[in-house]
Symmetry: C2
Subunit: 259 residues, 2 copies
Amino acid sequence: MARPLILVCNDDGIHAPGIKALIEAVEHLGELVIVAPDRPQSGMGHAVTIGEPLRINEKTGLFGKHKAYETTGTPVDCVKLAVDRILQRKPDLLVSGINHGANSSVNVIYSGTMSAAVEGAIEGIPSVGFSLCDFAYDADFTLAAKVAQQVAQLILQNGLMPGTLLNVNIPKIAAADFKGIKVCRQASAKWSENFEERTDPHHKKYYWMVGEFQLLENSTDTDEWALANNFASMVPVQFDLTAHHAIPYLNNWNFEQAG
Amino acid sequence: MARPLILVCNDDGIHAPGIKALIEAVEHLGELVIVAPDRPQSGMGHAVTIGEPLRINEKTGLFGKHKAYETTGTPVDCVKLAVDRILQRKPDLLVSGINHGANSSVNVIYSGTMSAAVEGAIEGIPSVGFSLCDFAYDADFTLAAKVAQQVAQLILQNGLMPGTLLNVNIPKIAAADFKGIKVCRQASAKWSENFEERTDPHHKKYYWMVGEFQLLENSTDTDEWALANNFASMVPVQFDLTAHHAIPYLNNWNFEQAG
């Protein structure tokens, strides 16, 4: 039997320390191919490149013996290019990250790291995104890499439910304080923006986005609770966005009367 | 009582015919403020601008008496700027579109139009995105505008369930053939990419994304079925991406054994 084919992506770019940590964490589990953006793409969400062409550059030797490619596209473009152009067969696993910074709670929606994993899942590939709750370039990925290795192995052994992927976040704590992996749901939260106004040398105003994370609940079954209590959070994510519970409510509307 | 405050956004840019059609459809329902990107932003998904500042330009007179602003940001940035900087109070309704092209099925994930509506819902604003299944710049928005007016009115009258928004798509058909609005779920589908390879004058390869939409089911309760059968589709959408049904499965994994 062929060794599992593992596609490695991220959104911080192919030169980010986080992707190197992820490669080292999973390289003994299969044959790796790395396809990642040529520059940081944080906050790109599920953006795709429609209006301009894309380029692919092979980065021989960047990660030792592993095949590696940088692209000019978004994280989602990278997955599409990998599946359609670069890989000879469908990967057995897609791992994305390790992101520099949390993608827990509502951040799953803004995250390029998670969007790469969502795209993998849409393609039918068992997919997972890993994020460390530390934005620093020189963050310590030791614990995150250990968790990534464990989760990647569990997915290869057990598989994932159809139409689902995993969002795994790792707290910024010492390994000694780590309590293990906790399966959770996405916490209810939002970013409260405060755009900082400045004036340019031509007397025109411009704005910097400065968000503040607002947790809107305190339940113990959420990813935010897990992370605050020294667990790594594992949230199963789906790309069927239908709010099925709202369908009966809408069917009660009187579509004849309005308009 | 104050007239409802209605925030109008899109992803095709403030100069697209679709947003003009939407403004004309809902202007009798309340006080309108338009905040839209200064250029087309299709396929931006839920991208936000983190690494550079944003600008806001008031476009006095562009839409008659209505206050209108273009921004240098993504559709999601526009909603954030509107809520934090431009508007004096929280809108009673956010309408996004009318998009030039379908956002049914899995397209909800890639769509800037829908991401603006998702962001509105995260902010607690009753929100809806409208899309016409016609990519043409000079598409006929008559039917779509009528549906948009009806749905906007229904939302203002009835409200939406917490944590949900609406994805409304309108088929490209003659008004006489229209069968009404159908509440649906998101159809299972994917884009099958085929990157077209070309060679530039410097002998380097580049790739154009050419996707083909693949519907993966034929159920009659989906948005794709509704659109193919002359209905406008209305899908309730949620931004809690948790696959709740997968939590028991993951809790059966042996987290001790692996690693």
